[in-house]
Structure formats: structure tokens, C-alpha cells
């Protein structure tokens, strides 16, 4: 089961949900390191004065956001069966943090240099509720940049957001609850600033108030042209 074959990378996908969304990224890294140690995973450490475990994550998740599509890389001293890694780690991690999938490899560039897109779901509640389906439809068109004779006041903002909201969909759960689903660049300087997006929604939806109930990062990818490549496929 355990073979000494030199440098081994385990790439894992994990979720961070519910109460754990309140933990900052730095605190989360500490929590993860402690779990690795309790699980007795043979982590490799950097050398030097202040040796650290060779562990990295793709992109920090903002406090208050949840995710089912986070990725991390860990370099091990010895080969470790991926299935055992999932089992041992999930035994040590809080239930709101689950390792979902794992792949081992021997070479990879850093996650943050490979991943350039993320998919999000935003869940919003609107008050008062939408009276007609057409109102939801026109909101969608606005955000997709499809409304031609738009008030100049919003033109730049709409262009900014619609350039960054790829494959934008609105799903209507109830008359007052919508889920926005979209892909957006990440880590490139072209990132969508979700806070600005929410502020913009407040601006254009002034006849209704809304509450952002949930931000969920669904997954992360490398987008090349029209293709979305899963981070596991990037591990050699």
C-alpha cells in the first residue's frame, strides 16, 4: 500500500460548507494541516529554518462563501493510496469539510497558475416577489448585455459584468428566490468582483430589495477556448 517512489503529488477536491464558511483561508489552512497530522499522512516538508508542509490551495475562498469545488495539492514523502487518503482525512476533518475526490500524480504546475475560471451559484431572495416571468427574463437579458437601448448610466457596468459572466443562467426556485449560475474568470486580474456585482444588482433593482442568501463556488476549471478542463486532468 505504501511505496517509497519519491515525489508524489495528491490533488484533491473538497467542499467547505455551512459553519465552516466563517473560517478565514489562513485559519482553514491551519485546520487542514492539523488534520493531515492527525491522519498521519506522510506530508513532505520544505527544508530550512521554518519548514512548512508542502501544501497549496488554488484560490482562497472569501469568508461567508461556501464551496463544493475547492482544490488543493499536497506533496508526500511516500506513495499513499488515494482512496485511503480520502478515508483517513474525512475521519479527521469536520463534517462540513469533505474530501470529495482525489488523484495522484508526479508532476504539475501550481493550481493557481493552471486554473483560470470558476463556476458560482448565487442564491438571492427578492422582496416583494416577482409578479411576472417577464421581469426575471428582462433581468437576465440586462445582465447578459442583450438590452440595446440601455440607459447610459449602466452601460459600462453592464458591459463589465456581461464580459465576465459566461454561460449566465437564472433559475427561478420560487417567485421570490432566484439562483444565478455562471462561469467567471479567476486569478487573472480579470476576476469578477462579486461584491461590485451585488452592489450593481442593488442599483438596478431598486424597486425590489434582495438578500444574498448564499454564494457557492461550484467548481474550478482551466478554460481553453470553449473547453473547460477539470484540474484533475492537468495533473500528470
Amino acid at each position: 500500500m505504501v511505496k517509497n517512489t519519491g515525489k508524489v503529488i495528491i490533488r484533491f477536491r473538497f467542499s467547505k460548507l455551512k459553519d465552516l464558511k466563517y473560517i478565514s483561508h489562513l485559519d482553514f489552512v491551519n485546520l487542514f494541516i492539523r488534520a493531515l497530522r492527525r491522519a498521519e499522512i506522510p506530508i513532505a516538508y520544505s527544508i530550512g529554518y521554518h519548514s512548512k508542509p508542502k501544501l497549496s490551495f488554488a484560490f482562497a475562498l472569501k469568508v461567508g462563501w461556501e464551496s463544493v469545488g475547492e482544490y488543493g495539492d499536497i506533496i508526500l514523502d511516500k506513495y499513499f493510496l488515494p482512496e485511503i487518503f480520502i478515508k483517513e482525512m474525512n475521519n479527521q476533518l469536520p463534517k462540513e469539510l469533505r474530501i470529495l475526490n482525489v488523484k495522484s500524480g508526479s508532476f504539475s504546475k501550481s493550481l493557481s497558475s493552471q486554473i483560470n475560471y470558476a463556476k458560482y451559484h448565487l442564491k438571492l431572495s427578492f422582496y416583494p416577489e416577482f409578479k411576472k416571468e417577464q421581469e426575471i427574463d428582462s433581468l437576465k437579458k440586462l445582465l447578459e448585455g442583450k438590452i440595446k437601448n440601455l440607459n447610459n448610466q449602466y452601460f459600462k457596468e453592464v458591459k463589465y459584468f456581461s464580459d465576465r459572466l459566461v454561460d449566465f443562467k437564472i433559475r427561478n426556485i420560487h417567485n421570490n428566490m432566484l439562483i444565478f449560475s455562471f462561469l467567471t474568470p479567476i486569478g487573472s486580474g480579470d476576476d469578477l468582483n462579486l461584491d461590485s456585482f451585488i452592489n450593481f444588482l442593488h442599483l438596478i433593482k431598486n424597486e425590489q430589495k434582495f438578500i444574498l442568501n448564499r454564494v457557492l463556488r461550484v467548481n474550478m476549471f482551466r478554460k481553453e477556448g470553449n473547453f473547460l478542463i477539470n484540474p484533475f486532468s492537468l495533473l500528470k
Binding site: D19, Y22, D27, N30, R37, Y49, S51, P53, E96
Partner: protein
């Protein structure tokens, strides 16, 4: 009883560090309180990140939750932004584990580490919707209790606390819970429960004592009502190992001040520094066996995953087996990427050699507390280290690659003169010379001498409990003098706030008459007084003025030998005569050697317990 947890989610979306209110940490325990025979909320009157760094909370939490009949949960002072949300939504103070209002528990137990958290206690009671004063709390409210180092003078908080637990809490907390569950079952009223509990060793119930005062304000008499104890002897656990070996530390999900695995190796100190409250109240000195410590660390690191272990005590290098312990520990932890931390170092070369031995991977800094700048003044305070020892310690530190040294001094010590202030300046200059000699040129730019200078604050149960604190004017003058003389490259000075120290001095040796001022200070917005940005000297002074409290009387007045102190109802073990004798020796610059090395000093402890040293 249909207990409903508080919905915290609407509150924590817009606060700093929301994770501190959420709980769910590794090794935290959830039990259904309705199925338990007695329940307690352990309340720490400061932020989560401070409280979770306090070992006492973990120890009591473990002991109580390991008992099948009882449950302990935790609560901490919410920060200002969270408090605002709580008040806006009428949300009561809640426990972390079940998120139930703390009012629903049988007991609410505060751990009071220092006087500057008194207002936080009142704030937490108010947030919990519990009446502040004991006399106003009927049976539907929990019994409010308090323990910790600052309750050795319980009087300033006497009207707010139903009873105090004096001394070590490990054994007595279970006795208290057993009594509560037994009497609850029989339907006893709260006052009866407290009466029965008062018979347990170490329990002080302020209601059973009446204090009268002379015209000049001094205590005339402490009168005991009925047949309650005339003296409350503190609890002492002799065998630390039996309580703490299987301690499961709760591992916070968020960064706390001391984010590491703590193991208590020793409790108490026999050095006898005359200003030190901890050295007095934690006597006698007791050590855990090395095997017990090693077992704790082995199991503890496995349970928690921490990568730093800290050996905790008042003076870790005084542990009798310290070299042996560190040798075994270093061997056991080899290749495990676990750092060993040895805080509370004595200012001697031996300590530095130990610090070096444990191989700090990155030698960032060492901290020492010479406290005074001259041998004469160190003799007065019985800090038994010589100038030569200090300089040798510093030399060894720099020559072994340490780059930053932190030094603590006090000003305003009894008998202090100008020469003593110049002694601090001389010492720092000498330390700089040593550093220049020992540190290589390429490392010189990283050398830093950090100095913290604090006003001396006399504490109860110390030989200096008779001494008045130096005046604000005098302290300010001294600090300004040191600031001007120590303005040098490589030297960085921090001064502890004089106003805050004065408030601490008033509260530390206050009596029940102070309690109204504490309440008014809280009403005026005082809380988190130990946080520089929150402390309001003006509000405190206004509160004292409103109640007619003479601050000079409490802080600056020298007491006479025969004065009755408000805290005398508590029996700490050391005789008052011994402490006064120490005070006289201080004035004559005479030292008292460490009783562990030079034999028993007859402090009085041996009359109440079989002292491990005598």
C-alpha cells in the same frame, strides 16, 4: 422544558471573525443539557481568542464533560460589533456548543484572570438578561459563580457573584455540580443550594459576611453571619497528574493568541518575588511527573495535530527535571516537525542554554524580566538574580544566534530612587555593548532590544499589599525620563498605560464599596478595559467620583501593619505575619532565598496542608 437555541446566522454575517461565535471545534463536546443532572457555562470575560488560550477553561471543560451526569459549555465576551447585533435583535448571550441562552443553565461560572475584566462580566450578565446583583436574581436564574486568580480579593465583585471558588478548581467543580444536582432533584431553592455549597472547602459566599468600616474608611470588622466559616481556605490539588493527564484540548478553528498544544508541567513558584500575586496564590509549588507530562504530550499531539508544544508554568526552567524532560521530548519529537516552546524563562544563562537545546528552528526572540535596574532594588523585590547573571544570560543569547531580546521592567517599586532608573539605562547600554560584541556584522541589522516598562501595581496577598502605588505624576515623570535616556538605535520601548495601572491598583485592593463604581463605569460604556483602544480613564474617574470613591485611598495610600484588609476572609495559606515580615525585609533590602533550595521559610502553608517543600 423546551429549550430553543439562538439563531446566530443573521448576526454573524457582518461581524469581524464570525468563526469565534460558531463553535463546532475538534474536541468540543455536545450533550443534551436536559438529560444531564447539572449544567454549567464556563464564561471567559474576554474575546474567544484570549479565552481559548487559557488552560483553565480546557481543564475544567474536560473534567466536567468527562463526567456522565454533567455538561459544561462555553461562552466568551462578544466583540462590540457582535454585541451591537445582539442588542439590536434582542439576542441573549448564548453558549457555543448548543447555542442555548446561558440563562438556561444551572450555573454560570466566570474565570476572572485580572481586574480589568470586571466590566466585561457585568456586560455579559446584562447581555444574558441576568440581573447584575445577586440579591435581584430569583430561582429562575442560574447561580453565578467565579474563580481564577483575581478572585483572591473577591470584594469588589461581591454583590454580583453568588459565590466564589478560591484556589484550584479541578476537584471542587465536581463537588459543586454534584451538590447542585442532588439539591435540584429535591427541589431546593437557590438560596438553600448556595448555603449547602458553602460548606465545601474553598467556597466564599459574600452574602454570609458583613463588612463594617471605620470613619476613616478602613475596614473595622468582617463579621460572619451564623455558623459559616470565619476563614475560607483555598483549594489545593497536590497531585496535578491525576487531573490533567488525559486532557483533550479543544482545538479552535480560528487563530487564537496561543495557538499550540499546552501542557502544564508545574503549578506554583517558590522564588518568592515580593510583587508577584501568582507566586503567592498558586503556592505550594507542585510538579507533574515527567512520565505524566510525556504521556500527555504524546496523546495530546495525536488528538489535536498541533505542531508546537508549550511547557506551561510560572517558571518553566525551575522544573526539577527540565533537562531530562527536554532531552526525552526532543528525542520523541525528532522528525515530527513539532516545535517545543519554553515560555516564562528565568533571566539566567541556564535558561538560554535550554532554549538553545530545544533547537528553535528560527531564533526570533527571547523574553526576560529583570524588573529592576539595580541589584539593590532587585533585593527589595526579592528578584534573586545578579547583574552578572543577567549579562551572562544576554551574552549567551546573542552568541547563540538570538537576535531579539525583550525585557520587562517596572517603575514605581517601593524604595525606588533616581539611581534605580539610571540602573535601567546603564543595563540597556551594557546589553547593547554585549550585543555589538557577540553578534556578527551581517546579523547586526536584525538585532532589536524591546523593552516594556510598567507601573508597579501592589496586589493583595503579597508583601507589598501594604504599599501605596506611586502617584500618576511621579510615574509619568519617571517614564518620561527613561524615554529620553533610552532613545537609541536598536532599542524600542513600550510603556504600559499609567491610567490603566491606576484603575487596576484601585480594583485589586478594593472593597465592596467599589462595586457601585464598577457598575457605573460599565453603564458609562466601560468594557474591554484591558484593550488599549477601548479603555476610558475618564469614564472610570467619573464613575469613582459619582460614587464618592477616593482613588488615592485605594491606590496610593500606604497601609498600617494592623489594618484589616477586605480580602482577609480568604485564607491563601501564607500568614499575614509572614507577608509583613517580608515587607520589612524588603524595606531593609534583605533577600529571602527560594524555599525549595534553602529550606522552608515558614510562610504558613505547612499549617493547612502537607506542603511538598516543607
Amino acid at each position: 422544558m423546551n429549550l430553543k437555541p439562538v439563531d446566530i446566522y443573521p448576526l454573524i454575517n457582518n461581524v469581524k471573525k464570525p468563526s469565534q461565535y460558531v463553535g463546532g471545534e475538534l474536541n468540543s463536546v455536545y450533550k443534551d443539557i436536559e438529560k444531564c443532572k447539572a449544567s454549567i457555562v464556563l464564561a471567559f470575560p474576554d474575546l474567544y481568542e484570549i479565552g481559548m488560550s487559557n488552560l483553565a477553561i480546557h481543564i475544567l471543560y474536560n473534567i466536567i464533560n468527562n463526567h456522565p451526569d454533567f455538561v459544561a459549555e462555553r461562552t466568551f465576551a462578544p466583540w462590540l460589533d457582535m454585541e451591537k447585533q445582539m442588542r439590536k435583535t434582542n439576542t441573549p448571550l448564548f453558549s457555543l456548543e448548543s447555542r442555548l441562552p446561558v440563562k438556561e443553565f444551572d450555573l454560570l461560572g466566570f474565570s476572572i484572570q485580572h481586574e480589568l475584566c470586571f466590566t466585561n462580566i457585568l456586560n455579559m450578565l446584562n447581555l444574558a438578561k441576568i440581573p447584575l446583583r445577586s440579591k435581584d436574581r430569583k430561582d429562575e436564574y442560574p447561580i453565578v459563580i467565579a474563580g481564577g486568580p483575581a478572585v483572591f480579593n473577591p470584594e469588589p465583585m461581591a454583590p454580583f457573584i453568588d459565590f466564589f471558588v478560591i484556589g484550584d478548581g479541578e476537584k471542587v467543580i465536581i463537588e459543586i455540580l454534584k451538590k447542585v444536582s442532588e439539591l435540584k432533584k429535591k427541589g431546593f431553592k437557590k438560596t438553600e443550594v448556595i448555603k449547602k455549597i458553602s460548606r465545601i472547602t474553598g467556597i466564599y459566599v459574600p452574602d454570609f459576611y458583613d463588612i463594617t468600616y471605620e470613619v476613616d474608611g478602613r475596614v473595622r470588622q468582617i463579621k460572619v453571619i451564623n455558623s459559616f466559616p470565619t476563614s475560607v481556605i483555598k483549594n489545593i490539588i497536590i497531585d496535578l497528574s491525576s487531573y490533567n493527564e488525559s486532557l483533550k484540548l479543544i482545538v479552535p478553528n480560528t487563530r487564537v493568541v496561543h495557538d499550540r498544544f499546552w501542557v502544564e508541567i508545574m503549578r506554583g513558584c517558590s522564588r518568592g518575588c515580593r510583587f508577584c500575586l501568582a507566586g503567592s496564590i498558586y503556592r505550594p509549588l507542585r510538579e507533574r511527573t515527567t512520565q505524566s507530562i510525556l504521556n500527555s504530550i504524546k496523546e495530546g499531539l495525536k488528538e489535536t495535530g498541533y505542531y508546537e508544544v508549550s511547557l506551561s508554568s510560572l517558571s518553566s526552567t525551575d522544573y526539577s527535571q527540565i533537562e531530562y524532560l527536554l532531552r526525552i521530548l526532543r528525542k520523541n519529537l525528532e522528525n515530527s516537525h513539532t516545535a517545543i516552546s519554553l515560555p516564562s524563562l528565568r533571566c539566567d544563562a541556564f535558561s538560554v542554554k535550554l532554549a538553545n537545546f530545544i533547537g528553535h528552528e528560527r531564533k526570533t526572540g527571547l523574553t526576560f524580566a529583570p524588573e529592576a535596574g539595580t541589584q539593590r532594588l532587585r533585593n527589595v523585590i526579592n528578584k534573586n538574580i545578579t547583574d552578572e547573571e543577567i549579562y551572562e544570560c544576554i551574552r549567551v543569547a546573542f552568541s547563540n544566534g538570538w537576535e531579539k531580546i525583550k525585557l520587562y521592567f517596572m517603575v514605581g517599586l517601593p524604595t525606588e530612587e533616581q539611581d534605580d532608573l539610571d540602573g535601567i539605562v546603564y543595563m540597556i547600554n551594557k546589553i547593547l555593548k554585549i550585543a555589538k560584541f557577540e553578534v556578527s556584522k551581517n546579523k547586526w541589522r536584525r538585532v532589536k532590544i524591546n523593552i516594556t516598562i510598567s507601573p508597579f501595581c501592589p496586589k493583595p496577598f503579597t508583601p507589598f499589599q501594604w504599599v501605596g502605588q506611586d502617584s500618576i505624576k511621579s510615574l509619568r515623570k519617571k517614564m518620561n525620563y527613561l524615554s529620553s535616556r533610552l532613545r537609541k538605535r536598536k532599542v524600542f520601548i513600550k510603556f504600559y498605560n499609567i491610567g490603566r495601572s491606576q484603575i487596576e491598583a484601585i480594583l485589586a485592593r478594593g472593597d465592596r464599596r467599589i462595586s457601585k463604581a464598577i457598575e457605573i463605569a460599565w453603564e458609562m460604556g466601560c468594557k474591554f478595559d484591558n484593550w488599549a483602544e477601548q479603555f476610558s480613564y475618564n469614564n472610570w474617574m467619573a464613575a469613582f467620583k459619582k460614587v464618592g470613591i477616593d482613588t488615592y485611598y485605594y491606590a496610593n495610600r500606604n497601609r498600617k501593619e494592623d489594618e484589616i484588609f477586605p480580602w482577609e476572609i480568604i485564607h491563601n495559606g501564607q500568614k499575614k505575619e509572614f507577608l509583613f515580615n517580608e515587607y520589612k525585609k524588603a524595606l531593609n533590602e534583605k533577600i529571602t532565598p527560594d524555599c525549595r533550595l534553602a529550606g522552608c521559610n515558614n510562610c504558613g502553608l505547612q499549617e493547612i496542608i502537607k506542603c511538598p517543600i516543607s
